[in-house]
Amino acid sequence: MDKIKSLEMVNITKKFPGVIANKDVHLKVESGEVLALLGENGAGKTTLMNILYGLYHPNSGRILINDQEVKIDSPKKALDLGIGMVHQHFMLVPSLTVTENVALGIKFKSKFSMDLDNVAQKIKLLSKKHDLNIDSSLLISDLSVGERQKVEIIKALYFNANILVLDEPTAALTPQETDDLIKWLRSVIKEGMGVIFISHKLNEVMNVSDRVEVLRNGKNVFSTPISKTNINQLARKMAGHDVELPTVERKNKFGNTIIELENVWAKNERGLDALRGVNLTIRKGEILGIAGVSGNGQKELAESITGLQKIYKGDIRFKGESIANKSVQSIIDKGMGYIPEDRLHMGTIPGFKVKENLILKDYLRSPFSKIFLLDRTYIKDYCKSTVDEYDVRCPNINTPTHALSGGNIQKLILSRELKREPDALVASYPIRGVDIAAVQYIHEKLLEARDNDMGILLITEELDELINLSDRIAVIYEDQILDVIDTAEADKSKLGLLMAGIKEGSR
């Protein structure tokens, strides 16, 4: 196949049971340019790219390369045509080495042996040429997120990709790593690569792309050269309406300390340190934001406070009493709420009915149950009114929870946690993957809870969300709290440096 000069997707429609993910979508990218594919979560960006990569089969539509129609019915075909893809969730086998991961895609001459040395040699050359710096004999499981991304890029280059799809490539990178990536992108475009850059971060899109294509609800809604648009316009097109960030009233009076972490150390499930001497305080009526690239100890922090994670040194006090290594149940009973990161498998039980998930933390107490018998009438009434109050959209309260959309599952969790009126709440990535309307709703509720004197720990990777909601921001880096700053003094560049582990004045 010749080098790809232009790639075009025409009238692509893809239906999943119950939803139309793409409806008559078109898209065109040429070699030597970056096309940004923009849209909210659920707009259909990833589905479209999975179709391009042969993972999904569209219900209708055509794909043209250099104006000739091609059928891409498997990822193998896409690779052969010169389409490379760096998925948001990396497509690497952790138990294999870098070389073996590349070798997976190679058709070796002999069935009975593999020339891995040759592959390793070629990888070395590629990584030198592109300044990627990867030791190909390492296992993927030993690599950092940033390094894994480089392996994905090497894979694409190895198979001579000249159209590269990057799905949310910067989501898990530090600002510095992001800069490096963008620099690299500019260099390969000069050499004739065409790039589809998927993102919902508008700054980056403005920074890196030549043209932008906006999707909403699975349809094209806007297409323009980057020079003729601006951030506000793109935000409007993505959301479908004017976006007003809620104006948050700053508070300057807080209550007493409600949660206090003192020199907390914990190990992750692989037995490695995941929290190293963390000190933090959260006050009543305060939102303490945790900034950081995910995987720096956030999960263990949240779970130590809620009792799901054992700590081996230090102490955690809640309302003045130690809760370190206490049972989850006793911490719940003491008035701790928790919105976990994994909402489908931790925050709810997918096979349980909506009503069962709504009482997941209350079923033990009166009036939900008496002695050991569940009060079905009370539970039914309670759940009906909760669902109405929090606008959890579901056919009825007996629907299995996995049938709900992500936003509605999140509202279900939110309602359950807030209705218990806890004294403190840990909220991990509460808006990840939910649509803008739900985001606004969740933020309003969190602020309302704060105003009612709840102490909230907010973990998120969205800097806008952090700066908007938090009263103070703590930055976590490599399992430690690097710094805690007042939001009034915080700006994105300062946070970005801290998230990369660089503390001003410490150099």
Binding site: L308, S327, I332, Y338, P340, G347, F352, L364, S369, L374
Partner: protein
């Protein structure tokens, strides 16, 4: 309500299709073996329902099947595959038998509950070992329960050949490995005379089925048990001790099988003897799947497979086709039922399938 009926009908339909697929597959085997499948199936399915004897014996078999099936459903609900039913039945039976022999003078109303409790406890401990090994050591429960089956079987043989053997077997020198006859005060009455074996243990089984339903769906205990099975991570998050409930589920599961063994002793054989468990531990898996892992669903399922089991015996006697055939058919039914879940769980297929049915009605 209407929705529930449609759901039940849909389930019955899918199960019937699974069963027919299994019979068709089984007939291939029969044809290879040179046997006319129609003769075999006619003997196996029609014979038991055309005599009082067949129906009574089907009910007799449905009692242990119901208990084991409920036990396996409980285990399944907490994502544990308990194939240790055989061992749990045997140990429950031998313990209950020993208990019955130990309390000859105690009035029935007290004796029977004690004996059932003993059978439940011993079966429960045997199941609980596998549960404990799963929860604490992550040992695959299928493998541990299989191994425990072999161990239990040898213990069982040892006990009925040695310490518990009927003294008269030694006195007469016959040495048949079985215990003495249970005292009259410990056995269930026959329900219909004329020599049929159906006994009042069936009421105990039905009561237990209903109790287990209440336990699972109306109590906080059941709520926790189901939560652990559906999603352990979320259960842990909600403050439930996952390990504890995994073990408890296996204790309950083994306990049900222990009751099955108990009822066989004090309801059917009135002794503990060889071959008492009759593969109920495995048939119980099919019953649980056919009952859709629901204690109430297990009731009709156990009767259905009770018919099939007695049918297989009658088939062997009448047309000399080995009753082992029924084991392979049960295996096929399991394969068909678990395969049909693709149809049941995927809304796309489900819709298509329902639409297809509507057209044809």
């Amino acid at each position: 309500m209407r929705n529930n009926i449609i759901k039940i009908l849909f389930n019955i339909l899918v199960l019937s299709i699974s069963f027919i697929v299994a019979l068709l597959f089984g007939s291939i085997i029969l044809l290879i073996a040179g046997v006319n499948p129609l003769v075999a199936y006619q003997a196996m399915i029609i014979r038991p329902i055309s005599s009082v004897y067949g129906l009574s014996e089907a009910l007799v078999r449905s009692i242990p099947l119901m208990m084991v099936g409920i036990g396996i459903s409980i285990a399944f609900r907490s994502k544990m595959i308990n194939i240790g039913g055989e061992g749990q039945i045997q140990l429950g039976a031998v313990a209950a038998g020993a208990a019955a022999l130990a309390i000859p003078g105690v009035p029935k109303a007290i004796a029977i509950p004690i004996i059932i409790l003993v059978g439940f406890t011993v079966g429960g401990i045997w199941g609980g070992i596998a549960g404990w090994m799963k929860a604490k050591l992550s040992v695959n429960e299928v493998l541990s329960t299989v191994m425990l089956n072999y161990i239990a079987f040898q213990l069982y043989l040892f006990l009925i050949r040695g310490p518990l053997i009927d003294p008269s077997e030694i006195a007469w020198g016959t040495g048949v490995p079985q215990t003495a006859r249970m005292p009259d005060s410990t056995i269930f009455e026959r329900l219909i005379q004329q020599g049929q074996r159906i006994h009042s243990g069936i009421f105990i089984a039905l009561i237990i089925a209903i109790l287990v339903y209440f336990l699972l769906w109306r109590t906080t205990f059941g709520f926790r048990l189901r939560a652990v099975g559906e999603e352990p991570k979320a259960a842990n998050y909600a403050g439930i001790k996952v390990d504890k409930y995994l073990i408890l589920a296996m204790v309950l599961s083994g306990g049900m099988a222990g009751i099955a063994g108990t009822i066989e002793v004090i309801g059917v054989h009135h002794r503990v003897l060889e071959g008492l468990s009759a593969n109920y531990g495995f048939s119980g898996i099919v019953v649980a799947l056919f009952g859709r892992l629901h204690p109430i669903g297990v009731i009709p399922a156990s009767f259905f497979f009770g018919l099939l089991l007695i049918g297989a015996e009658m088939m062997q006697r009448a047309v000399n086709i080995p009753s082992a055939l029924v084991i392979s058919i049960q295996g096929l039914v399991i394969l068909a039922v678990v395969s049909s879940n693709l149809l049941l769980e995927n809304p796309k297929y489900r819709k298509k399938f329902l639409g297809f049915l509507m057209q044809n009605n």
